[in-house]
Point group: D2
Chain length 297, copies 4
Amino acid sequence: MPILGQNQYGKAENRVVRVTRDGATHHIKDLNVSVSLSGDMDEVHYSGSNANVLPTDTTKNTVYAFAKEHGIESAEQFGIHLARHFVTSQEPIHRARVRVEEYAWERIENSGEGAHSFVRKGQETRLAQITYDGEKWEIVSGLKDLVVMNSTNSEFWGYVKDKYTTLPEAYDRILATEVSGRWRFNWTDDEQQMPDWETSYEQVKKHMLQAFAETYSLSLQQTLYAMGARIVDHRDEIDEIRFSLPNKHHFLVDLESFGLKNDNEVYFAADRPYGLIEATVLRDGCEARIPVDLSNL
Amino acid sequence: MPILGQNQYGKAENRVVRVTRDGATHHIKDLNVSVSLSGDMDEVHYSGSNANVLPTDTTKNTVYAFAKEHGIESAEQFGIHLARHFVTSQEPIHRARVRVEEYAWERIENSGEGAHSFVRKGQETRLAQITYDGEKWEIVSGLKDLVVMNSTNSEFWGYVKDKYTTLPEAYDRILATEVSGRWRFNWTDDEQQMPDWETSYEQVKKHMLQAFAETYSLSLQQTLYAMGARIVDHRDEIDEIRFSLPNKHHFLVDLESFGLKNDNEVYFAADRPYGLIEATVLRDGCEARIPVDLSNL
Amino acid sequence: MPILGQNQYGKAENRVVRVTRDGATHHIKDLNVSVSLSGDMDEVHYSGSNANVLPTDTTKNTVYAFAKEHGIESAEQFGIHLARHFVTSQEPIHRARVRVEEYAWERIENSGEGAHSFVRKGQETRLAQITYDGEKWEIVSGLKDLVVMNSTNSEFWGYVKDKYTTLPEAYDRILATEVSGRWRFNWTDDEQQMPDWETSYEQVKKHMLQAFAETYSLSLQQTLYAMGARIVDHRDEIDEIRFSLPNKHHFLVDLESFGLKNDNEVYFAADRPYGLIEATVLRDGCEARIPVDLSNL
Amino acid sequence: MPILGQNQYGKAENRVVRVTRDGATHHIKDLNVSVSLSGDMDEVHYSGSNANVLPTDTTKNTVYAFAKEHGIESAEQFGIHLARHFVTSQEPIHRARVRVEEYAWERIENSGEGAHSFVRKGQETRLAQITYDGEKWEIVSGLKDLVVMNSTNSEFWGYVKDKYTTLPEAYDRILATEVSGRWRFNWTDDEQQMPDWETSYEQVKKHMLQAFAETYSLSLQQTLYAMGARIVDHRDEIDEIRFSLPNKHHFLVDLESFGLKNDNEVYFAADRPYGLIEATVLRDGCEARIPVDLSNL
C-alpha cells in the first residue's frame, strides 16, 4: 500500500486589516496570513476520519480573533501568537507554520481633523514565516517585488565561451533586478531576547539597498553576495539570507541603422527569458536552512 | 459583402528606458509605449495588400529612435512627438493614438560617487494617451493601481430596500478603493500654450488624494464626485475626468461567537465581488469625450 | 460647479455556480456576473443621498436568487432576466448592463454511478453583455483567451518602408494570436424571435477557427477580416463583430552561428512588444455599436 | 567573513516553439525552458571573476540550438539532452537542473490542404524537472492549473471543535480544487530502460482524474491520498507524488431570506481564503525527495 509522506494543511491567504486608534489618529496593519498545520494526520488521509482535524475554517477564525485579542504588533509577533496557539492547544498538531505577507501604507495628508487616510505604498511586499514545533522557533523574514536598478557601474566580461556563446562583453551596462530575499533569525527559543522585528526589517532593507547601490558590479552574483554579506555583517540577529535575483535585462538598442549613436541612453527592457541568480549567504559557522527554491507566499 | 468598420493597428507595449546623464547624476524615464494607427487601410483587410502599411516593427523602431532624438521630457510630450510623426510622414495614416504607461523610480542613497541607483516606487502606474488627426490633439492623462483607504468618516444608509436587500446600514465603515482615473486636457491645438505635463500630473494626484481624505463620505459616489470636482476646480488645464472606483470591501468580522467585541478594529479585506462605481465629472459647458469603459492600458 | 456626466454603478464579479440535477447526472454553469446600473443618480454624487440607490449588495443577492428562480439556461438569457428586473422594478434605474464571463467544464469519466465529476476545459473564456433601457435590448456576446496558431501559410511583404524600417520581408512565417472578439446580435426587441444563444456561440466559434485555419494570410488584418466576414455570412443573427488580435510574434531563431540551418523549425515565442490589430466587420447597411476598445470583462 | 552557501544560476523562461513537418502535416511542441547550473562558482560571488561562468545568454542559445539538433521528443527527453550537455561539457559545472513548462495544442479542422492550424488546449500546464549531477538523474514530472470539481459525493464532519470553531458539518458539498502535482520517476541511471515520457504523462493524468471522480470523499486529504495511491499502484515507473490542493470553496448561498430553498443548486465560488492541503504519497520503501513547497515553475 502506498505510504503517506510529509503532509500539512490549513487555511491560506486570510486577508486581515487591523485598525488601531490612538484618539483620532489611526494606525493600520494589512496582512495576508496563511496557516499550515501538521502532526498526527494519517487517518484523515487513509480513511477520511476527521477526528484529529481542526477545520481550516477554524484556523481562519483564529486569525481574526487573535487580531483582536493580541493586536498585530508585527507580522512576526502575530505569527508567533498563532503558531504557539495551534501547537499547544491541539494535541494532534505537532508543528505549525504561519506565513504572512504585509502591505505597507503611508498617510495622506489631510486638512481636516484626525489622521485616518492612507495610500498603499506599493513598493515591496514584506514576508514573514514563523515555524514552531513546540520547542524551537524558526523565523524567516523576507521581501519580494522590490525592483532596483543601477544605470552604470556594472560590467560583464571574462566569462567562458563555448560554441554556443555569442554574447559580446559589456563594460558599462544597466544592472536591474527584482529582489526576492529571505533571512533567518538566530532567535529560536522563548528564553532568548526577542529581536525588534520592525526595526530589524527596516535595517535589513536599508542595507540591502545600499549594498546594491554601492557595489561596483562585475557580475550579478557579486552584487548578490555583497547584499547578503552586508546584512550578515550589520545585523547580529540574522544568520542566513537567500536571494533569488532575476537579471532584468535592459538591452542597449541598436540605433545605428537610423544614423543615431546610442551612448548608453536608450534601452529595451526585456521580459523573458531572464538570467536567474540564486544563492545563500551564511554567517560563518552557521547551517543553511532556507530552502533552495523560495516559496512565492 | 461584409463591410470593414473602424480599424487600427500598431505595436503595443514597447518597453523603453531612457537614461539621461547630468555628469555623474543619472535620470531615468521608464515607459511602456503602445502605438495605434488608422487611416486608408481598407485594402490590407480586404485583399492583404500591405502597400499602405507601415510595419508595426517600424513603429517599434521609431519609439526607440525618438527616445534618442527627442529625449523623454514627459510621457505626454513623447507621445506628441510620435503621433505627429506618424500622421505627418505617412500619407495613408490619418490618425495616431499613442498610449503610455509610466513607472516611477526614486533614488537609493549611495555613499559612493555619482547618483545612478534607483528603486521602483511601485505606487500608481501613470498613464497618458495622445491622439492626433493632423489637426487637433486630444490628451488624456491618468493613473491606475492607486489604492487608498479611509479607516473612518464613511457611512452608508438611507438606500432603497427591495425584497432582495439584506445589507444592514453602516454608520462608521472603512472606505477603500483602487483608483483608476483619466483626465482630459483642454489643450488641443499647437497654437495654444502647452501645459506643464509633469507639474499637472503631480497636482492632480495631490488633489485627488486630498479630496479622498477630506471628504466625509455618505457614499463612494459622493467621494468620487468630490475627487473629480476638486481637480476641475483647481486645474484650469483639465475639462473632464472619469473615475472607475472598485469598492474594496472591508467587512467587519463578527467576533461575538468568540466572546469578543469588534469595535471597528478587525476587518476581512474581500476580493470579489466588489461594488464598482464609475462616473465622469465635467467642467460646466464642456463635452464628455472619455469613453465609459476605461481601457486598461 | 463641475457637472456630473455618465455614471453607473453595481456589483462586479459575482461568482455563481449553478448545479442542475437530472437524476444522478449533474449539469453545471459557472459564471462571473457583473451588473452596472444607471439612471436618476445625480443626488448620490452631489450630496451623498442614497434615496435612489439600490445597494450593490442587493444586486449581488439578486444574481444568486435569480440563479435559483430562473436557472441559468445561457449567459445571455440569465443576463436578460437580470437586466429586465432592475430596469422594471426600480423607477430610478433607467438602464442596466449585465456582463458575464463563462467558464466551460467537461465531464470526467467515472466508473461509479452518476455523472457529477468535471474538469475545467480551460480554453477560451466566453463573454456576454446584455444591455436594456426598458425598450430595446443590445446583446453582445464574445470570447477572449483563445490562442491559435498557423505554422505556415502566412506571409508579410510589400509594406511601406521608411527610414526606421529594418524588418525583412517574410514569405513563410508562423501566424499566432490570442483572439478577443465581440459580436452584436440583431435581436433587440422582445417581440422578435430570440436566438438560440448556445448554438449561436458554438457556431460562431467554429466559423472563427475555420476562417483562421483556412485563410492563406498576407497580413493579420486580412485574416481578421476573413474571420469576421465568415461569421457575418454564416450567422444571420449577428450584424457586427469586432476583434482585437495581438500578433503573438514567433521569431525564427538565427542558428547560423552554431553551424545550423533553421528551416522554419525553431522559434522564439516573444511576449512584448506585440503587433495589435483591431477592427470591426459589419453586415452591409448596419451601424457599428461595439466600442473601439474592447473591455476586458 | 560571511560564507557562500548553495547557489545556482542560469537563464529562465526560454520560450521555444518547435515545428516538425511530416509532409503537409505539422506537429508542434511549445515549451518554456529554465536552466539552473551549479558547481565551482565561489569566485564569481566573492570577487566577480567570471572565469568559470558560462553566460546565461549561452544557456539560452543552447536551448534553441538543441531544439534543432535533437528535436523535442518530450519535455523530459529534451531536458535530459540539455542537462547532460552542461554537466559534461563544462568542467566547473557539477549539476544542472532543467525545468520545463509545456503548453498543449490541438488541431483545428481545416478544409484546405495540410494540417498546420492549432488552438491552444488551455487546460493544465505540464511540467518536467530534470536534474543531473554527472552520475544520477532525477526526473520529476508534474502539472498545474488543472481545475476539477465533484458536485456531490463529498462530506465534511466529525472534526475537532475548539472555541473558535463555527463551521457547520456538511453531508453533501461541492469538492473542487486546482491540482498542482509533481511525481518522481525511479529512472535514475542511463543504464536503465527509459520510461515512455509521453505515455506516462497521459496515464498519470488519467488516473489522477479518475481517482478524483471516483472517490466518495470525507475530506480533501482522503481524495488527495486516493489520487496519489492510484498513480503509485498503476504506474511502476513512479515512486513518489506530491500534491498541493487548494480547496476551492463553493459556499451554498443562503436564499431563505428571499423565500427560496437552495437544495444544493446555487453556490458562491470564493477566491480567498482557501483551505490548502498538501501531502506526499510514496511507494512503500521509497524515500521522499520532492520538496515540501512545490515550485511554481
